[in-house]
């Protein structure tokens, strides 16, 4: 195998495996209590692929585990036994999935995949044997070793599935695997390591002659285990043994079955979605739905995508530097500006394309939660159903990495603390089964992720007591609104659950939510109704990299406000402005009343324009709230490549980052949500 580029194959392998395991978990979790034929086939197919690929990459322990599970599901598929203990079955399969996942992590970290699944394989075997003993007539399918020591000569023609790629490597693996069972192996094409043989094998098939002491059916069974096998034509040249028609027939059926499955989504490693880490969950989402083999996608290293994005940012800045160059001031350059506009347009399109390449649907992250819900229900003896809405919503890849943990912690919290035990629920007149809804939707330049449960809701008093005990109160107790009190649960070290469970109660977790969201510039809000559940709303930006911004001027400095939050701007008339006794300024505009926030006051800056009529008001939207922000003047619309504030600075309320303008000046990016919370 050293002849092949093992590194890149390993990368593909890990990617492919992760997808398969994820798909496996979903299938199992979906149908935990009873498997239908489709699902059994699906699991069988997944285990088959896992076995094949891991054997090819020589991860024997993974191959061994997947093999026994495959055997188990082969039996289920063929015999459809009654009174199956689906619960234990699911447990076994998930345990297998966990083992594979664990090994994958090791492989990914460059460690040796040294896990030992001896006990697991043993228990799966025992489970299968028990099934077989229950099913009456079945004779153990143990291989029949030939009694005599005679050698048979076989001839085989192998066709691989269309589009399985790397036919030569697959052929090599096949030969390699045959070594244990056969000798005098000869094959055409003779040099499988050569790239050119790929095409020959694809066209004509792969021919192997060999001698073996094993009987026909065993050799056939072995060869049928080849990954991506489409067709096998195995013949015994010296008919030393008479054919058993029944076996032969069965074998044909088996061949047909294998041949029937090419519509299985082409192996992810080959038909990988755009970005290497963009799990194309569309197929995982609907396991029943088969896809055509021709997916016009390639896999790209994320590093390259990141580099592309950085270059894109530099291009945007340098375009601005050229077209807004101060040396052009006052010049009459009609044609230049016309061409510059065209350039701008192309750059805009380019930028959109680059950004869209980085967009990943949330489905992968969302579907993973099924497993968490399932495990928690088993452990806590609760009954919870997870409903997923809007999983096709896409966000930037960088962001997705940071929101998986927050979502998981919130869901854990909802199930552990929110949803009551089935009996309690019944007494309360609720359905025994609790519901957690996980939903994603767009809202301007943000994505909202909502986790809603129908449990007991947050206990306001309990949280308040805890906050008081821990000295977290910053103002008189009575001044706290419900929402502010609920927000305490995101503080580090806060947990009202006096009992520590495997999932929560240690006070770690919920602060991870806020920490992770802060990194991507998002936030979280909680609302709760006692007795009927709580709603967690995570607001995250669509993308981190480049925003459409309005640059404004105030007290000698420049600020950028995301265009998506701006409704309009206008010169205020003093007769529309009034103040309440607390000094809050307000303005009536088109029949509505808005609060005025003076940006210089908010930031505590002196030398700005203080006369409302000399400044300008910008009406800004955050969710369903509006304010009018007073600034000195507007400068203009500009693309802003967002950079974070220098690490040394503490978080500044009202600012989310900074950006370089076309002329090399720095503009500070306003965090609109920050302006709203006082």
């Amino acid at each position: 195998m050293a002849d092949f580029d093992r590194e890149s194959m390993l990368e593909m392998f890990i990617f492919e495996m992760n997808q398969l395991v994820e798909q496996l978990e979903q299938t199992v979790v979906q149908s935990e209590t009873e498997y239908n034929t489709d699902q059994i086939n699906e699991i069988f197919r997944i285990m088959h692929t896992i076995k094949g690929s891991s054997a090819m990459m020589m991860f024997d322990e993974i191959a061994r585990v997947s093999h026994v599970i495959e055997d188990l599901f082969y039996y289920l598929r063929e015999e459809s036994p009654q009174n199956l203990d689906y619960q234990s079955l699911s447990d076994l399969v998930l345990e297998g999935a966990d083992f594979v996942k664990g090994e994958l992590v090791k492989i990914q970290d460059g460690d040796e995949a040294d896990g030992n699944a001896g006990t697991l394989t043993e228990s799966i075997r025992r489970f299968l044997n028990q099934l077989k003993n229950d099913g009456v007539e079945e004779k153990p399918v143990e291989s029949v070793t030939p009694s005599d020591g005679s050698t048979f000569v076989y001839k085989a023609k192998i066709m691989f599935e269309n589009g399985c790629e790397m036919e030569n490597i697959r052929a090599y693996t096949l030969v390699h695997n045959l070594l244990d069972h056969a000798e005098n192996i000869r094959h055409i094409p003779t040099d499988v390591v050569d790239e050119e043989s790929t095409e020959i094998i694809r066209q004509n098939g792969f021919f192997v002659d060999f001698e073996s002491k094993k009987p026909f059916e065993e050799i056939e069974k072995h060869l049928l285990g080849t990954v991506y096998l489409q067709e096998l034509d195995l013949q015994e040249v010296t008919a030393a043994k008479e054919e058993k028609p029944a076996v032969k027939e069965a074998a044909e059926v088996a061949v047909e079955q294998v041949a029937e499955t090419p519509e299985i989504p082409a192996p992810p490693a080959v038909a990988a979605p755009v970005a290497a880490d963009t799990p194309n969950i569309a197929s995982a989402g609907e396991p029943g739905e088969k896809k055509g083999p021709a997916q016009h996608v390639i896999s790209v290293n994320v590093g390259k995508l990141d580099a592309l994005l950085n270059l894109m940012g530099e291009l945007v800045i340098s375009e601005a530097m050229v077209t807004q160059n101060s040396e052009l001031d006052g010049l009459q350059l009609d044609s230049f500006f016309k061409e510059a506009r065209q350039l701008r347009k192309i750059i805009n399109n380019l930028q959109e394309t680059v950004m869209s390449m980085r967009m990943v649907p949330l489905s992968g992250t969302f579907f993973k939660m099924h497993r968490i819900v399932r495990d928690m229900c088993r452990q806590l003896n609760k009954d919870v159903q997870l409903d997923i809405i809007g999983e096709e919503t896409e966000v930037d890849k960088n962001i997705i990495e940071h929101i998986s943990d927050p979502i998981m912690h919130i869901i854990r919290n909802s199930i552990d603390h929110g949803i009551e035990m089935p009996d309690t629920r019944q007494q309360l007149g609720k359905p025994r089964k609790g519901v957690v809804v996980l939903q994603a939707k767009h809202s301007g330049s943000d994505v909202l992720i909502i986790v809603k449960d129908d449990g007991g809701g947050l206990n306001r008093d309990k949280i308040m007591n805890k906050a008081r005990d821990q000295g977290m109160l910053r103002k008189p107790e009575l001044e706290y609104t419900d929402k502010e009190i609920y927000q305490f649960i995101f503080m580090a070290g806060f947990s009202t659950n006096t009992e520590v469970t495997a999932f929560s109660g240690r006070g770690v977790g919920m602060d991870v939510v806020t920490n992770n969201l802060e990194i991507v510039g998002g936030n979280v809000l909680v609302d709760s109704t006692p007795g009927s559940g709580s709603t967690f709303t995570l607001k995250i930006p669509l993308t981190l990299a480049i925003i459409e911004g309005m640059t404004i001027h105030m007290a000698g400095a420049k600020y950028t406000i995301p265009i998506a939050s701006i409704k309009r701007s206008f010169k205020p008339k003093l007769e529309n402005v009034f103040s309440d006794p607390d000094g809050n300024e307000m303005i009536t505009d088109r029949g509505e009343i808005y609060n005025i926030v003076r940006l210089y006051e908010f930031f505590g800056i002196d030398d700005a324009i203080t006369d409302l009529e000399d400044g300008i008001l910008i009406q800004i939207e955050n969710g369903d709230q509006f304010i009018c922000l007073m600034v000195d003047e507007l400068i203009g619309e500009q693309q802003a490549v967002v950079q974070s504030m220098p690490k040394y600075f503490n978080k500044i309320r009202g600012l989310s980052g900074c950006t370089l303008l076309g002329n090399g000046d720095i503009s500070l990016i306003i965090d609109v949500a920050g302006l709203f919370d006082k």
């Binding site: 800056i605 220098p646 900074c658």
Partner: protein
Amino acid sequence: MTTDMMQLEEDTLKLDAIKDMFFIFEIDSEDYGVEVANVKEIISMPKITKVPQLPAFIEGIINLRGDLIGVLDVRKRFGKIPKEYDEETCIVVIVYNQYTLGLIVDNVKAALTIPAENVAPPPSAKINSYNQFIRNIGKVGDGVKLLLDLERFLEQ
């Protein structure tokens, strides 16, 4: 193996060469030093963008060839009376821990090697209120150089 060893030796030599070197700058006619290993470059005063709601000694951010870095006014950090920037004022760009920061100083003098035997901690009687930022005092000829403790200097 051998190349590794040689590389290691070379690195050690390089480290040795700059180990006792300090970059000397002036504040209020007093000489201060930072270890050369922490100094990235010296730049003349660029345009500084003020950032609201930060401690007073943090002046703002500057554009250093496309990188946006924070700048600190050393005078203000020392609690001295601020002074107008002039043509001698410049920024010492330092890299410390994960931070890249600019230090605004009155002027820069030179890089000096101060052998370890000429370096001593400040007098233990803490009556001098500026001692908190000084780790050591180096003797050079008749004068002294106050050597900065960046860890404490950068604490907010």
